[in-house]
């Protein structure tokens, strides 16, 4: 166990935010889960007790009839906001006094940094470069992420869970989002920061970042495994596989929706459903492609003269 290496990575000034991000995320997930759990319990209680449902104020926090339903922003909200501002200021100042912003050697185009890393918040994308061509990882994927985030309100037809934490009422939405945010975004960043060493190679935490490490790896293309050699064959084969994935996956999504979320499905228009389907499949495709690469060293599935996937 190379503690020194570990310490060096963790204490690099620009990595500190990520180190801070992990406990912060854990804390907030816990906070959200706690409230969701309480709300779910309340819902369950109210579902079974319609009488109570009629009278209850429907929040988990205590309430008495005489209490104001609304409070003045001044001072009740603003005092919290000011307090938050003060605390943020304190944190920021202490952080700034104790830890210096990194400043390395003057830029030298002739001397490549190894590893050359993007800013930490883009490391997820950089990690994707391992599995995808740059045009996917660097251009298509960010675009899809932005579009995907933007369409969420329009494809989520579930009217429940608006304005309060819940899990049981929005299982699908929340698990999908957590999958996207925690697994595909944050953990990729963590991998990119702590695991990827010189040459963008995989170093387990505590492994020394050896600049000389060489790893033998032969990546194959899926068509090669099936012995397809002609360019046209490869293109058609890839098209079939990818098309097949989307066709079969689409069908699978449909059957799952129909079976497990009939209400949501019924609320969705065809467009809404097909967009949901598409994004879902693309999202799932990422770990699938990663697995193909990590387990079977498969580089491309679909090879065409213009692009490879």
């Amino acid at each position: 166990m190379d503690w020194r290496q570990l310490w060096e990575i963790i204490s690099a000034p620009d990595n500190v935010p990520i180190v801070g991000l992990i406990p912060l995320l854990a804390f907030y997930i816990y906070l959200a889960w706690k409230q969701a759990h309480a709300n779910d319990q309340l819902v369950a209680q109210l579902e079974t007790d319609p009488a109570m449902a009629k009278t209850h104020h429907r929040k988990t926090w205590p309430f008495k009839p005489g209490w104001q339903k609304e409070v003045h922003v001044w001072p009740f909200l603003l005092r919290i906001e000011f307090l938050a501002a003060i605390i943020v200021t304190i944190i920021l100042m202490v952080w700034s006094i104790t830890l210096n912003a990194p400043l390395e050697e003057p830029a030298n185009p002739n001397l490549t940094m190894n590893p050359a890393k993007a800013p930490w918040y883009f490391l997820g994308l950089q990690e994707m470069l391992v599995y995808f061509d740059p045009w996917i990882a660097g251009v298509v994927m960010p675009t899809l992420i932005i579009i995907g985030l933007m369409v969420i309100p329009y494809i989520d037809t579930n009217p429940k869970g608006s304005g309060y934490y819940t899990w049981k009422q929005r299982r699908f939405a929340i698990s999908t989002f957590l999958f996207g945010f925690i697994i595909l975004w944050v953990s990729m960043i963590i991998i990119g920061t702590f695991i990827r060493g010189p040459g963008w190679q995989w170093f387990w935490p505590g492994q020394t970042w050896d600049h000389n490490r060489l790893i033998y790896e032969v990546n194959r293309d899926l068509p090669d495994i099936f012995g397809i050699t002609s360019n046209l064959g490869k293109a058609i084969f890839g098209l079939v596989i990818v098309g097949g994935y989307f066709a079969l996956g689409g069908f699978l999504v449909y059957s799952l929706f129909r079976r497990y979320m009939p209400k949501d499905f019924s609320r969705m228009s065809l467009l809404q459903f097909s967009i949901t389907q598409a994004f879902l499949l693309i999202m799932v495709a990422l770990p699938l492609k990663m697995l193909l690469r990590l387990l079977w060293h498969i580089k491309y599935v679909w090879i065409t003269p213009w692009f490879n996937i």
């Binding site: 020194r4 309480a38 319990q41 309340l42 209680q45 988990t60 926090w61 205590p62 309430f63 008495k64 209490w67 104001q68 409070v71 009740f76 005092r79 919290i80 307090l83 003060i86 605390i87 200021t89 304190i90 100042m93 202490v94 006094i97 990194p102 400043l103 390395e104 050697e105 003057p106 030298n108 001397l111 190894n114 020394t208 050896d210 600049h211 000389n212």
Partner: protein
Amino acid sequence: MPDKPVPDSDPIVSKSYAAHYAIAVILLMATLLWALWDEAFGMRPWKAYQHVWKDRYTAFLLSARSKSAASQKEVEGSSDYQKLKQNLEEATQQASPHMRELQKQIGDLNSKILSVQAVFTDRRAYVNALTYQIETSTSQSSKQSIQRDLASYKAQTATVEYPDGSRQKYNFEQLEEAYNSLKDQRAKLNAELGDTLKPVTQSKTALDDYVANHMIDLTPTQIGGLEKKVDELSPSIQQINVAEANIVDRCESCHLGIREPVKLTPASMSAKGAKAPDDYAKAFVSHPNPDLLQIHDPEKFGCSPCHQGNGRATTSIEKAHGNYEHWLWPLYTKQNFEAGCQTCHAADMMLISGEVGWTISKGKDLFRQRGCMGCHRYEGYDKEPEELQSLNQQIKTLETERLDNTKQSAYMMKQADAAESNDEANRLNDQAVGLRVANSRIDGRLQQIDFRSHSLMQDMKKVGPNLKDARLKLNKNWIPVWLKKPSEFRPGTKMPNFRLTDAQIQAISAYIWQSGLTDSLPHQKPGNAEHGKELFETRGCLACHSIGEGDDQQGGTFAANLTRVGEKANYDYLVRWIHNARERTRPYCPYEKKDIGPEDYAKKKLPYVFDLGHSKCPNDGHELQVQNMTVMPSLRLSVEDAQDIATYLLTQKKQEPSAYADASYMDDPKLKEEGKKWVRHYGCAGCHEIAGMEEEGRIGTELTFEGSKPIERLDFALFTESAQRGKEPITNPEDLARLPEGPAKESWYDHKGFFEHKLAEPEIYDKGMIKSETEALRMPNLHLAKDQVQALTTFLLGSQESSLPANYQYKPQDTRRDIQEGWWLVTKYNCVGCHQFFPGQDSVLIKMKKYQDPDWKEQLPPKLYTEGARVNPEWLRRFLSNPALNDTDTNRNGVRNYLKVRMPTFSFSDDELRKLVRFFQALSQQPIPYIPEQVPTLTSKETEMARALFSSTAAPCLKCHATGDVQHDAHATAPNFLLAKERLKPDWVERWITDPQAISPGTSMPSGLFTKINDHWVFAGPTPPSFQGYDQDHTKLLVDYIFQLTPEEQKRVAASMGRSTASNAPQRTKKSVTGPSRPPASKSGASAGGSR
């Protein structure tokens, strides 16, 4: 939640945040204060330094002041001081009545002037205002009216009331006149006052000067000034800012004592009662070498150009010294700080200061002597081959140009013939003629280039011996043994260890052997080993070569140690080598790239003769390499002497040559090809001449800017981590001992660490790696000692691309360049093995045990401290090219033939001769060309007087100086006067005879022959009556006499001194071992003095 009891009052409305706010605000305030503190102190550690400095330095000055006061009292106690003081008092007394009178008058005048001035300026202002109105008024009539006003105003009188109460009326003109005349009077009086005070101020200055000149340390007044300065020091960043070079250095914010005019040591700056100096004390020291600051004014150079570090940073020691990860120029460590010199002095072989013991100079020297430039290019080192190449290029261009010109001119003439008008024809003809003249100029250029090539061929040297002669000079079976580990056979050898496998050794030996020349050498008669030994030890061989191993080793390290030479060398070859090492077996033609043999000469029916005078290739007329590329000079020994020495050297062995294991595989032609591959692979041709590899390039990386290579570019291989964590990868104890600071204790992931490890064990970065034979690191182990590794590391660390402007680089164009170039030659030929160029620099000989004996001391080669001022440069050129000063009788020294040590013939090229002569002249600030001083012809009376001095018993010149008389010269210890005229500069001789010890300390020539009486040099001994009334310098008289001395005169004087030679000649025939025997008695020297 729902189960919990619900409180009565609304928690949201009733909850108080007072406590939260209180804590938050307190924390915020604390943070703000922390930020303030951090800004004011946390990031300004220098404030504490300045605070402590004030205390400590004041205390130091206080004690220094009392010491200084004591020594001032001592100075003031001297009679000279008293006399000066009395002078001052007298002058003051004399001047004071007049002075007081004058001062009073001036005072009166001043008040008078003031009273006139008050009225005058007021009126003048009005006049000026009116004048302005006239000038600017547009109408003629108003002009006239104002003019009238002005005239009447000027005519009006004004009353001036003088301080004595008297009143005077003046109109404007009178007022002006009065005012000016008063001012004139005052100026006159002031001048008079100055004159009166002159003697006073003069004697005051004399007194002050006396004190200042006689106090070694600072005077109390000066110290008082320093105290005041410290007292007034307010905490602030002390900064040197040189915009021109982008230098911002704040080092002096903590290192406050650096430029103080007193010597501050850690001990003197320690706190009272402290056991050891703390960090403050260490930081407060004054610059250890203030002289360096004198020539490198910190206001221009700052600190960081020499020392590196982050001059701007003031937040912590670590930051300021640049010792953090992302600073490219960390402070040079104490061991390597001289690397900073290289920033500007990269072109200097020796640092100009003329001081010894510079690590950087040693590093440069090592880089050269150890043949590093055989594999690594370094700007400025071994530049002859490159220059030759560029000359060849120039020749080609010039030849094309000449051809073009010829064609062009022919074409023009043709055109001229057909021209329509005569004018046109003439113009064209003129142009054609111009081109032809241009061609003749080109021919001249080409001729010069030829000379230059000739010089360059002569100057080009190789560090290692010529291996084309391997067959002729070496014991065949010895070669593989040598290659195995050269230092095993000859500790301290320059030949490094290439870590060759047995197969490689066999192949390389086979190639060397089979590619060697097979010419036959003349057979030499055996010599006398005993005489050979004596010659070897006294002729000066030991200035470069050493003999004996371990504690017995004596001699220089410049050339090979000859302790076991008898095991490897061939006698016939050795004799030739000792007789003239430059003699080549066959000349080499760089154009044809082959060795030219007698058959080539025979083809052209030319005699097979090649030397510096016959250096043209018989085949194509190109310049030939006619000498061995060695710096070994010729000692002008007779063949017999060479035989004696060779015979002696062959007795130097530890085992019989025949005891070496048979290596007949070296004749296997199959091995030759394999061997060629390896010889090429290891770059052997970088240091050796090897057949077929004359044009090989260097195999190593260029090192000119090695120090500024990014650390990531230095391949630590598997040891990056070890280096960062301070682990030592070297395990071989021999190599471990080469690390200047011992095995690593802390991080060595820096340039210094890389270089040191690489030099200590060049293969270290291969350790643990799996590499094929051809991939493995090729750098051989040079068997360096600790200090050598340190010196080379310093040199490499300093090899940086400087960011300073070009005018900071030391690349002088004047005589200083001559000095620079000279040092390159001086180290190239190891002149310092015998000679000293400046006090403190020890030659090899001077340190040898033999020369510690007072009698042998006289046998040391002359010191060259003032050589340029001493000798005529033209004579020096002749001497350097032929130190025997004789074309036929060469087996002798030209000037000091009483010395056993021989000034060798280096066969310098014209270029080098020029450089050397200029070097000596520049070193002594002598102008070039030298125009000899006219020595006046003496009258017969003067000659008589001079002769009296010359032969005086009080200064018996001819007792020690050689006269050319064989028996007298047997115990001469100084050169013949007859040489003086050609050789010496009269002004120097005059300085010499007044105080030789000041010019060449320790010389046999005593000081005190003349004393200075009334500004004249007067002979110290008794003088004949003819000197009565002679008021010229006796020295001058003597020098003029010496420069007019004729052989007859000298003989006459010698005879008159009652030492007719034959009868009184010392009868010393006993052979001396301890004392130097003297020429010309060739083999049996007379013992000097009474020692035995």
